[in-house]
């Protein structure tokens, strides 16, 4: 029984970390219809900035998180203006080519500027160490990640469902021409959504860095995982992404506990099974 609880906790923690990192991609893919393979690259940039701020400059973890999000967004703005604008509404394959190109460039630059070694982000003092839950110990950082995941989920849900911006965004997504006719400046809505998505990527990159350490190949190494999680959830759906992360997290964790040597099989078989049953993703809208 203890083991079951223990695995459940691990699954939850892993799922939430996945969620924090992937949810930004769900926003770009679901709401802006861009297959953004460079999502991981933005998460990586966030991680590098946080590492630089916290480790090399010696500023605190909180400062590092904020700096990572803000600076990554600032870096992303010209990229959005010059490159992403050209692929909105283009065929998926074109988007794939462009965003892979961007990813390669960012990897190359990161490798050149930051070197090929792993970078860590020193945690704030209260987040270090582990707590004893009675039946097992878990690192405080994991709990922090779970809380971050819940906060992001709630915040996004609120922003999309309950604010006027959310209304405009949903209108722009459903019918851009109609939204524009109603006076919504879709360009600005898209730009803000992109900024939010990039900011979430950076935030996820920092919070998830304990599990997915920052190095130049981060952007490619985890690209597939992010893409899979978002698609299984149904792109653009926050509850969908949450369920997918928890479900895949649970399958992955249980699989790795029971039969580690077949870990990959479980994960990808589950992905195939879920998509065969829900061809549009768990929360995909049926047209």
């Amino acid at each position: 029984m203890q083991t079951v609880f223990s695995i459940a906790i691990d699954a939850l923690a892993y799922g939430m970390v996945l969620f924090v990192i992937s949810i930004g991609l769900s926003v770009t893919m679901g709401l802006m219809r861009v297959v953004n393979l460079a999502h991981g690259a933005f998460a990586m940039i966030g991680g590098y900035i946080a590492s630089y701020v916290a480790r090399d400059l010696g500023l605190g973890y909180a400062v590092a998180v904020i700096a990572a999000v803000v600076i990554t967004i600032i870096i992303a703005i010209p990229i959005e203006r010059l490159l992403y604008r050209r692929i909105y509404g283009q065929p998926e394959l074109t988007q794939v080519l462009m965003t892979i190109g961007i990813t390669f460039c960012i990897i190359g630059i990161a490798n050149y500027a930051m070197g090929p070694t792993l970078k860590t982000i020193p945690l704030a003092e209260p987040l270090r160490g582990s707590v004893d839950l009675g039946f097992r110990t878990i690192s405080i950082h994991r709990l922090f990640a779970i809380i971050c995941g819940l906060a992001v989920a709630l915040g996004l849900w609120f922003a999309i469902e309950k604010t006027s911006f959310g209304v405009k965004l949903r209108a722009s997504v459903d019918n851009a021409a109609m939204a524009a006719a109603l006076g919504v400046r879709t360009e600005i809505v898209y730009a803000i959504s992109f900024a939010v998505a990039v900011g979430l990527a950076a935030f996820g990159g920092v919070v998830g860095a304990e599990l997915l350490p920052v190095e130049p190949y981060y952007a490619l190494r985890y690209m597939v995982t992010f893409l899979v999680v978002v698609s299984v959830g149904g792109a653009g759906s926050i509850p969908g992404a949450l369920i997918a992360c928890l479900l895949l997290g649970a399958i992955d964790t249980t699989g790795r506990y029971l039969m580690p040597e077949f870990g990959e099989f479980f994960f990808y078989l589950a992905v195939i099974a879920i998509i065969c049953v829900f061809p549009r993703g768990l929360a995909g809208r049926v047209k």
């Binding site: 297959v35 074109t94 080519l97 390669f104 990897i107 190359g108 990959e264 078989l269 195939i272 549009r280």
Partner: protein, 334 residues
């Protein structure tokens, strides 16, 4: 309908046109192959690799360019062909390169059918993810079956006999190169026939509007599965060529990376055209070889810039955009 036979009231199309284009196509490939041989006699290994990958990209074009199925897992077909050819030689002592190629073709086709069964359960993004899941499963399977595949150490001990008992596979790669050119030419001619056949037309229809095809009484999934099998045979040929020419097969033949690279090459060249697939492979691999030799440490950035430039300046792919440009000019001159 009998009375209509000699009543062709619509002007029939000049039939020579497409046949001539076929000839030109074959000639262009032959000229390129000869040029490669004469100009770069010391780079035949690279050129043979390009031939093998070109077959993979052609195969990918069949399902992606002609049928609209986006996949990041096509190396599963290529790798199955490579492993089949390799295992035939390394474990069963079947060293005849033609038989090994045949084994690759069959294995590729079977893998194609397997993939089709899974892939056709979804569309769009979830379909893309299915393809990713598939390639990882194939990869893991090959890793697990290490007594057959050599696992992560790779399958070695592949020793192909001379082609027709005469032409040996030597260090300089002459035989492998010509063997590859021959395979590519045969595949190209057959595929030209296939894409222009009624079946090819059906597939183009499916790509544009599968629902309309259903309303015409044809099953898109059956057609796509068939195309997947054909594609598997072509990719399997490429895999077999790779196994025969390098005499080793490793897990990278079944990898996501290989699949993604093939897709990048295809889109780079231009989807939906056999020439686009060939052009994309040639340009990407030569570019990669050139910049990675020029600067082994930071060439990835250059490749990234190339991809971005293509999207910005040649949105239909390099061949696609060039072809469209010449067609327009041709029409303007008329």
């Amino acid at each position: 309908m009998t009375l209509a036979v000699n009543n062709q009231s619509i002007p029939s199309r000049p039939r020579g046109g497409s046949f001539r284009r076929d000839l030109i196509g074959v000639a262009v490939i032959a000229v390129f192959a000869a040029a490669g041989y004469i100009l770069f006699p010391d780079n035949l290994a690279l050129l043979t690799r390009i031939l093998a990958v070109a077959l993979l990209v052609l195969a990918l074009d069949l399902v992606t360019g002609y049928c609209g199925v986006a996949t990041l897992g096509h190396a599963a077909l290529f790798g199955s062909g490579a492993y089949a050819a390799g295992i035939l030689s390394a474990h069963y002592g079947i060293n005849d390169p033609l038989l090994m190629t045949l084994g690759g073709i069959v294995a590729g086709a079977v893998a194609g059918l397997l993939c089709a069964v899974v892939m056709l359960r979804a569309h769009g993004l979830p379909q893309l993810v299915l393809s990713i899941a598939l390639i990882y499963l194939f990869h893991e399977l090959a890793n697990k079956a290490s007594s057959w595949t050599g696992g992560s150490d790779g399958l070695s001990g592949i020793m192909p006999d001379p082609v027709f008992g005469v032409y040996e596979f030597d260090l300089f790669g002459h035989t492998a190169y010509f063997f590859g050119v021959a395979l590519l030419l045969i595949a190209f001619v057959l595929l030209r026939l296939v894409v222009r056949s009624p079946f090819g037309m059906l597939c183009r229809g499916i790509k544009e509007d599968p629902l309309r095809i259903r309303a015409m009484g044809a099953s898109p999934n059956a057609a796509l599965a068939k195309m997947y099998v054909i594609s598997g045979a072509v990719a399997g040929t490429g895999g077999a060529l790779s196994a025969i020419s390098t005499q080793v097969v490793a897990l990278d033949a079944l990898s996501f990376t290989q699949s993604a690279e093939a897709l990048v090459m295809l889109v780079l060249g231009g989807t939906g055209s056999l020439f686009g697939a060939l052009a994309g492979t040639l340009i990407f691999m030569l570019f990669e070889d050139y910049v990675s030799a020029a600067n082994p440490f930071h060439w990835l950035t250059m490749v990234g810039v190339l991809l971005i430039a293509v999207v910005l300046f040649a949105p239909k792919g390099i061949y696609g955009t060039a072809a469209a440009y010449f067609t327009r000019r041709g029409e303007a001159n008329r």
